[in-house]
């Protein structure tokens, strides 16, 4: 919110510097996002009295001698048509800064520093300035819009700084107002806070006015009482449309509002001053002089002041006359009842509308205004009455019209009186954990106009109606401390709290262990969005009925690429690898621990299953299927389980380089090489491999921490075997057969595979190292021979394996 210091000063005497005011506002909850002096770019511009002024022949220039008081008298060359001897104009001295303008003399093109110059051969020691060159407009200073010199008042003393004369020494504060203080979304509301913070009296704006205007019929009906708790309409006669006076236009301009005409400016002025949106209807255009506040009919149309047409639904609240909508309630007036130069009678509206409805309509229709913004922030009913009085006062003050006795106030009976609240001071202070001297308590609540009375521990306050946010003793604690100062809070460390057990759950411990294990194995942890794109599912070439396609859609996504809750981590992992290659990272290992979202039903009727999931991606020339498998084995190891692998098919993975991962009899994931056609789609040339493991399915493993198995008492025995088997046989089949043949086998490890000239075609040689661990006695040679023979026998039968000769 833009707050001109000069406007604030109308209600409260501010005897602190702008910096101090910023500090005070900040400490009581109003952050000043930015502040600046209106004339921040203007310096060394003084009142110049033109002593002599002679036209230079053959040019548009005048050669002037200009008296600048204590600064001296200077020869100035001036091209403006209104320069004349005896005139007082702003004189930019040598070294002054003013705005440079384009050829049109209107468009500002940055700040320039004035230097000695020569114009058509004549020396000039400064520059006489136009309003534009000082950053002024007609609204900010009378005459500043003229395309020539800005004329200063007759009583301006030569040599004096022009800034105070032109109001350039004013300050503009951009204050951010928190959502709980809609009462401060206006200059007067903020002035109340400034007065309380500075301990200064508050001057209320004048509301008095006569009611001697001509009367006319007017009727107000509020049909949608739920959306409009209060509607005040007031008939104003003898309206004479014209420009608002300069002081009002200046204030509006400083607050960032364009002046339009007296009546419209009054409504904008009241909005800015009191935070109450108002509207003025051109009376004769209200059919049957009847204002009806109602929901729009389905398909009903309205054209707003900016000539945009809207088709409405019953969700939209309108102000209608007997026949048609004449305004989008709280958002914008209708073109059909717009104030025109010929308007002679108006109806002012000051109403409270339901915040949510205005906000939703404004969003749904894509139409907004200062008024709808204010209603969305919240307008308390309190301000409707005050605003109407104020508008009528200003109308009279400006001579813009005459208030009549025709005043209609339709309300639901809400009180606008102060509420009495009685609380225990001890409780108020208990929230803060400090004591505040009683005199400070009284002073602070008095400054806030809460009329405090303290009797023992009982604090009684009267909450003004504009403070709807104050509901209980905690709110009073906040009022107290924000005015007393948060620096008074004494940091303590839960001296009254009980000792509690804390720490990570088994799941949290397991997931952390997993992350650390993968990082230790050279993988970097990444994090991707929880939502993805329908195109991600297409990238994986998933069939229409694939379970991954049953993803939860976001109703209002930012864009389609972020529109589904992810059901698999694979696509973002694949894209991350592709992105890395594109950026010149030629290989690496990435993992992500995140959630996939599996709905029980769509649309959602219950919380979906949020499953902890791991994805791992490895890419680059140094990686292959087995480096990825090394990482998945780390996962098994870290969760104290065993994984088994069997060939599988995935639409996005290599048909002959893909495995399902099983743990304790269940499929928990998959891994494989990215299909070449998908890699090509992503402009990926490097080989890429991806694994995805459902950690939720492994949650039984989370509490495992391992336990000690006693070391063997007897020496282990090791034997190596090389078998010749059919090429189709998997390592796992042979391994399983070996393990099954003898209970003392504690480890079987493949150490060589050979296919080639030395074995028959269609066959391969596989060499295993087998460890036998005795439990209760040392093996005798014959016993071991027996084990070996059993292995050979079993493998011949089960796997057709023969010992390589």
């Amino acid at each position: 919110m833009l707050v001109p210091l000069s406007w604030l000063r109308e209600y409260v005497d501010i005897d602190v510097t702008p910096d101090e005011l910023e500090e005070r506002l900040f400490s009581c909850g109003f952050e000043v996002e930015e502040k600046h002096e209106l004339g921040r770019d203007i310096s060394n511009v003084v009142v110049g009295l033109v002593k002599s002024c002679e036209a230079v022949e053959g040019t548009h220039l005048h050669q002037c001698m200009v008296d600048a008081g204590v600064h001296g008298t200077f020869q100035i060359m001036c091209g403006a048509d209104n320069v004349h001897a005896g005139g007082r104009f702003p004189l930019a001295l040598i070294g002054a800064t003013v705005y440079g303008t384009a050829k049109d003399h209107k468009t500002i093109e940055g700040v320039v520093t004035i230097r000695e110059g020569k114009l058509r051969g004549h020396d000039s020691f400064g520059m006489l300035c136009s309003g534009t060159e000082l950053g002024l407009t007609e609204d900010l200073y009378e005459g500043a819009g003229y395309n020539g010199l800005l004329v200063l008042p007759e009583d301006a003393v030569p040599g004096e700084d022009v800034k105070p004369i032109l109001g350039l020494d004013d300050w503009i504060f951009d204050v951010s107002i928190t959502a709980n203080r809609p009462d401060c979304q206006c200059i007067f509301g903020l002035a109340r806070e400034v007065a309380a913070a500075l301990g200064k009296p508050l001057r209320a704006p004048r509301l008095d006015h006569s009611e001697d205007g001509t009367e006319a019929p007017l009727q107000v009906t509020v049909e949608a009482k739920d959306l409009c708790p209060r509607y005040i309409g007031h008939y104003v006669s003898d309206v004479r449309i014209g420009p608002a006076p300069q002081w009002m236009r200046r204030r509006l301009a400083l607050a960032g509002i364009n002046a339009i005409s007296n009546i419209v400016d009054i409504t904008n002025y009241v909005l800015t001053e009191l935070g109450q949106p108002m509207h003025a209807f051109d009376y004769p255009y209200l059919k049957d002089a009847h204002i009806i506040v109602r929901r729009a009919k389905e398909g009903e149309k309205v054209t707003t002041l900016d000539e945009k047409e809207f088709t409405l639904t019953p969700e939209n609240l309108v102000i209608a006359d007997a026949e048609r909508p004449v305004a989008l309630a709280g958002i914008m007036g209708g073109l059909n009842s717009e104030i025109q130069d010929s308007t002679t009678a108006v109806v002012y509206e000051a109403a409270a509308f339901q915040r949510d409805n205005i906000r939703k309509s404004s969003r749904a229709l894509g139409q907004s205004s200062d008024s709808s913004a204010m209603f969305s922030k919240g307008v308390y009913e309190y301000s409707t009455v005050m605003a109407m009085e104020r508008a009528l006062h200003l109308t009279e003050e400006l001579g813009a019209g005459k208030a009549s006795k025709v005043h209609l106030d339709v309300n639901t009976g809400n009180s606008l009186e102060a509420r009495t609240m009685t609380v225990s001071l001890k409780k108020v202070l208990g929230v803060l954990g400090i004591t505040v001297p009683e005199e400070d308590v009284i002073r602070i609540f008095t400054n806030l106009d809460f009329a405090p009375e303290l009797s023992g521990d009982t604090l009684t306050v009267r909450i003004p109606a504009y403070r709807e946010d104050i509901e209980g003793y905690q709110d009073l604690s906040e009022e107290l401390i924000r005015m007393y100062g948060y620096e008074h809070v004494v940091p303590t460390f839960l001296p009254t709290a009980q000792v509690t057990m804390g720490g990570r759950s088994d799941r949290q411990k397991a997931l952390l262990r997993l992350r650390r294990a993968l990082a230790a194995a050279g993988a970097h942890e990444g994090m991707h969005y929880s939502f993805f794109s329908p195109s991600d599912l297409d990238l994986l070439k998933l069939p229409e009925d694939a379970p991954e396609r049953k993803a939860i859609p976001i109703l209002n996504p930012i864009n389609v690429d972020l529109s589904l809750m992810r059901t698999t981590l694979a696509p973002e992992m694949i894209r991350a690898m592709a992105r890395n290659e594109k950026r010149g990272n030629m290989g690496g290992r990435i993992f992500e621990v995140g959630k996939v979202f599996i709905p029980k039903a769509l649309p959602l009727t219950d919380y979906p299953d949020e499953r902890d999931t791991l994805s791992i991606g490895v890419f680059g020339k140094e990686e292959d299927f087995f480096t990825l498998k090394g990482l998945t084995e780390r996962v098994a190891d870290c969760l104290l389980t065993k994984f088994r692998y069997r060939p599988a098919e995935k639409t996005f993975l290599h048909p002959n380089m893909t495995a399902e991962i099983l743990s304790e009899g269940r499929v928990v994931g998959y891994m494989g090489k990215l299909r070449y056609e998908i890699a090509a789609e992503l402009d990926m040339e490097l080989p890429a491999y991806v694994a995805e493991i459902d950690l939720q399915a492994l949650s039984d493993c989370f509490p495992r921490v391992g336990h000690y198995t006693p070391l063997p008492k007897f020496d282990v025995e090791k034997r190596d075997f090389a078998f010749v088997v059919d090429s189709e046989k998997t390592c796992e089949e042979i391994e399983d057969a070996i393990r099954a043949s003898c209970p003392y086998i504690t480890n079987v490890e493949l150490f060589d595979v050979y296919e080639g000239l030395q074995v028959l075609s269609g066959k391969k040689s596989m060499a295993f190292s087998v460890v036998f661990t005795p439990t209760d006695h040392a093996f005798k040679d014959a016993e071991l021979e027996g084990f070996v023979e059993k292995i050979l026998e079993d493998l011949k039968v089960k796997a057709g394996a023969v010992l390589r000769g």
Binding site: Y486, Q498, Q508
Partner: protein, 347 residues
């Protein structure tokens, strides 16, 4: 061998022969082999000498025995000397042959890394675990009730505008704040409560400084006699742990519907220690988190007796802490898995 062979002569002869053999040795391996051969009890030129005892005249036997033993001692000593000499040379040669250029590049040992958000989250969890806080993670998909209504943000509340929400259905949404977890914890009905709740949150904001997904951590204490002073004391510990000893906090008034009073918490700038720098935009303070005394309406909504209990809560942006701590200049860097970015920071 002649029966009358003089003992001395015999010993000298053997010794001469052995010395000639030893003179030919060039390395420790040949010393070992020569020793084995010469000292062999059956065939060795010295080792088998005692076998000749029978051929020695009785009166000379004692002298012979002593002389053989001396010879044996001499030979052992020579073998040891030679062995020592060659071993030493051989080691020197080996060391010399293994000379390397220590400035050659290393063999690649891949080091991975944890995500910066994981790192900061862990740090926060460690701090609060040590203070007896439980970790409650909650769900990313949440009911409107828990994300808003129960936190004193009814449907028409302007605070809903402060957070642009992704909806999945009229009832379900992507949580906009980890505060949603508070309610679940309080609804369990177990008091006192000390809990932190880290996790991902979502807001419909996507521009240079906003990501639609980011990470937050909520902290909540509900017990008897908990005050705003406790809040600041707790947060001082938090920031000292994250940003280093001596870091302090400043409270200033703010507004969150679920706390009253509500405060913004600034930390003293850890880069300039309050003098004012680019990081803190010259103010000496950096805004890092929001906090407050839990609004009684929220506690009461969860069935907690506010006559007895009070609470404090805070919420902190984990990504923001990570960015401040490690100096990332763009939040989007955290979600791109760029290997040049990951791994730059360590636990």
């Amino acid at each position: 061998m002649a029966d009358n062979m003089d003992v001395k002569e015999r010993i000298l002869e053997v010794r001469k022969q052995v010395e000639d053999d030893l003179a030919l040795l060039r390395d420790s391996k040949s010393v070992y082999e020569a020793k084995k051969k010469i000292m062999d009890g059956k065939t060795g030129v010295i080792g088998s000498m005692m076998r000749e005892m029978g051929k020695i005249a009785k009166e000379q036997r004692a002298e012979f025995g002593r002389s053989v033993n001396e010879l044996r001692d001499w030979a052992e000593k020579r073998f040891a000397e030679l062995n020592e000499e060659f071993r030493k040379k051989e080691l020197e040669a080996r060391y010399e042959s293994e000379k390397i250029d220590v400035t050659l590049p290393p063999k690649k040992i891949r080091a991975g890394s944890l995500h910066p958000v994981t790192l900061v989250t862990n740090e926060l969890i460690d701090i609060f675990s040590s203070m007896g806080f439980e970790i409650y993670e909650g769900t990313e998909i949440e009911k409107d009730y828990y994300n808003f209504t129960a936190l004193n943000i009814p449907a028409d509340h302007p605070a809903r505008d402060m957070q642009d929400t992704f909806y999945l259905s009229p009832e379900f949404l992507l949580r906009t704040q980890t505060s949603a977890g508070q309610i679940h914890v309080m609804e369990r009905g177990k008091l006192p409560i000390k809990v932190i709740s880290p996790g991902k949150v979502f807001r419909s904001d996507d521009d240079a400084t906003h990501s639609p997904m980011f990470s937050q951590m909520e902290g909540l204490v509900v017990d008897k006699g908990i005050t705003l002073g406790d809040l600041q004391g707790m947060l001082n510990r938090l920031v000292e742990n994250v940003f280093g000893p001596g870091t302090t906090t400043r409270l200033r008034p703010s507004y969150f519907p679920f706390t009253e009073p509500s405060v913004e918490v600034d930390v003293s700038c850890f880069a300039c220690h309050g003098k004012g720098c680019r990081l803190c935009k010259g103010t000496g303070w950096i805004e890092v988190l929001g906090a407050g005394v839990v609004n009684n309406k929220v506690l009461e909504g969860c069935g907690i007796d506010t006559e007895l209990y009070s609470g404090i809560a805070f919420g902190v942006g984990i990504d923001r802490l990570a960015m401040l701590k490690y100096g990332y200049n763009n939040i989007k860097l955290l979600f791109e898995s760029d290997l040049r970015v990951l791994g730059q920071v360590k636990e």
